[in-house]
């Protein structure tokens, strides 16, 4: 008994950590559970009542069964990829300028990068809406893309900047000292070393864009370019199709598998390295 209490005394912080992680996982588990439930009506998709739980595979076998659901998913992926591509390129260029050059206006550039992150999404949404209305730009894919790139840029800059700032400036000098032209030094030394940061930034940008609802809600207007979050929001009145839970579960499992695979890869690589030394 005493051993147990000592164990608790030593590990309580870690235990508390796991309890909190479990709390973070609860809603995901519920979504997984509900993906196997056939709700009595669409209005009870999000009612968790175990006494009326009706097990079914239907939400998985007929995952695109709800009208418009998979179309909206494809649109979100398309918008997400396009916004990620543009924002990652623009943001990476900015972080290179900020980290590797001293120039007039550097301070105000930092402020301009910080501001979108310090502005509530609803303000960005309303201001873009005002702009598009004023210029009479038709709402749709283009306006959504513009908005997503805009709020992703800052996050890309912050992520890539952190990686770049940790890079020894002498590495580039060493490359140039060893007969590499500036372009070769960039391609062979700087880029491979910054790439993990750029990939992380791209993943972050994609998840921000894919999941955005608040701003998208303002810049979609009356167009029928419905993204996945907009589809869920729009189904609120008619009731949300239970397939949404299957898709959310699949999204979770796929992302989780990717991250774990990445973790295992780095672990195996470091293990191999340790074995050779």
């Amino acid at each position: 008994m005493r051993g147990f209490w000592r164990w608790i005394a030593e590990k309580w912080v870690l235990l508390l950590g796991f309890v909190l992680l479990a709390y973070l996982f609860v809603p995901i588990a519920v979504v997984m559970l509900l993906s196997f439930n056939q709700p009595a009506s669409r209005n009870t998709t999000y009612v968790l009542d175990l006494s009326t739980f009706d097990f079914t595979w239907h939400n998985w076998t007929d995952i695109c069964g709800a009208a418009g659901l998979c179309d909206s998913l494809m649109r979100s992926i398309y918008v997400g990829l396009s916004a990620t591509l543009i924002a990652t390129i623009l943001g990476t260029l900015i972080s290179f300028a900020l980290v590797r050059y001293r120039f007039w206006g550097r301070g105000s550039t930092n402020t301009l990068i910080f501001l979108p992150m310090a502005t509530p999404e609803i303000v960005m949404g309303t201001s873009l809406l005002t702009l598009f209305l004023g210029l009479q730009i038709p709402m749709g894919f283009l306006t959504i893309l513009i908005a997503h790139v805009m709020f992703c840029i800052s996050f890309v800059v912050v992520t890539v900047k952190a990686r770049l700032a940790g890079l020894d400036p002498r590495l580039q000098e060493a490359a140039m000292d060893l007969y590499a032209t500036p372009w070769q030094a960039f391609r062979l030394v700087i880029l491979p070393l910054v790439l993990p940061g750029i990939v992380a930034a791209a993943l972050l940008a994609f998840s921000l864009s894919f999941d955005d609802f608040i701003i998208t809600n303002f810049v979609t207007g009356t167009s029928d370019y419905t993204t996945f979050p907009m589809f869920i929001w729009g189904s609120n009145l008619r009731g949300i199709p239970p397939q949404v839970n299957a898709i959310a579960t699949a999204m979770f499992l796929i992302s989780f598998a990717f991250v774990i695979a990445g973790q295992l890869r780095t672990r195996r690589r470091s293990a191999r390295r340790a074995a050779t030394s």
Binding site: L24, P27, Y46, M117, S127, V157, Q172, D211, I214, I232
Partner: protein
Amino acid sequence: MAALLPTASTGTPVATDIPVEPPAGMRRRRWVPYALLAPGLAWLAVFFVYPVFQLAMASLWDPSGSVETGYSFAWAFSNYSTAWELFNEQFVRSLWYALLTTVICVLLGYPLAYAIAVKGGRWKNLMLVGVIAPFFTSYLVRTYSWKAILSDSGPVVEFLRWTHLLGPDGRLLATEFAVIAGLVYNFLPFMVLPLYASLERLDLRLLEAARDLYHGPVRSFLRVTLPLSLPGVLAGTLLTFIPAAGDYVNAQLLGGPKTQMIGSVIYSRFLVVNDYPIASALSMMLMLTILVLVMIYLKLFGTEEVV
């Protein structure tokens, strides 16, 4: 200082041994940084700075106009007083909810970040994946899931009724509790990640030294660990407070009419009622208030670079 260290007053001197700039071969072209910045900053200028300016203009439009007849610019500062009179309750409530959310997130997020960074050991990476796991599903779906958990026939309410903590007709949905619970859940990872980053950098030997100096874990935590992790607390509170104050998803899905937040008001004024001047004034008020609060906050506790 400059008087004591004559070489330091010129700025560059001793530091010349450790250059920050790229080598001479590249530095000759002064336009390079501007070329790198131009596309991204142009995007931000056209689609962030200019629209906010537009929004500021719209907040001063003549309120007697309409979408059909068009609006005219009129320096109508009265929009702000009208907006305040109509919606001060939701406005103050939003800031209050955001504050509560932030405080609860610090209280929950700190132990979690500490557990991962200091006690995590071989579990560290897996625990970090756990923190970002909620991002793997959709924000709206997560919030709907909370709705299911807190629903009247759900397990939480049933348990609370069974223990008589809640009356037989008591419910959680449409209460402040539900809204704040949703906000806390959705923004907790934004608190944990920066906290983790700053705790991870902490030198564990410092903690040991602190235990020697201050005797006892509590005092050494208060004197050493906490002050050293303040940059993380700072970044985390900003990343939580700002989006929480402008959020309307949680209030809309989990709350009721009595828990409406300013985000919902702006949303409905813009997209349902089409009352652009008042809606713009509300948006500007929210933005300026948060900007002022953030600036005061950074002045009081801030380091120069939070991001």
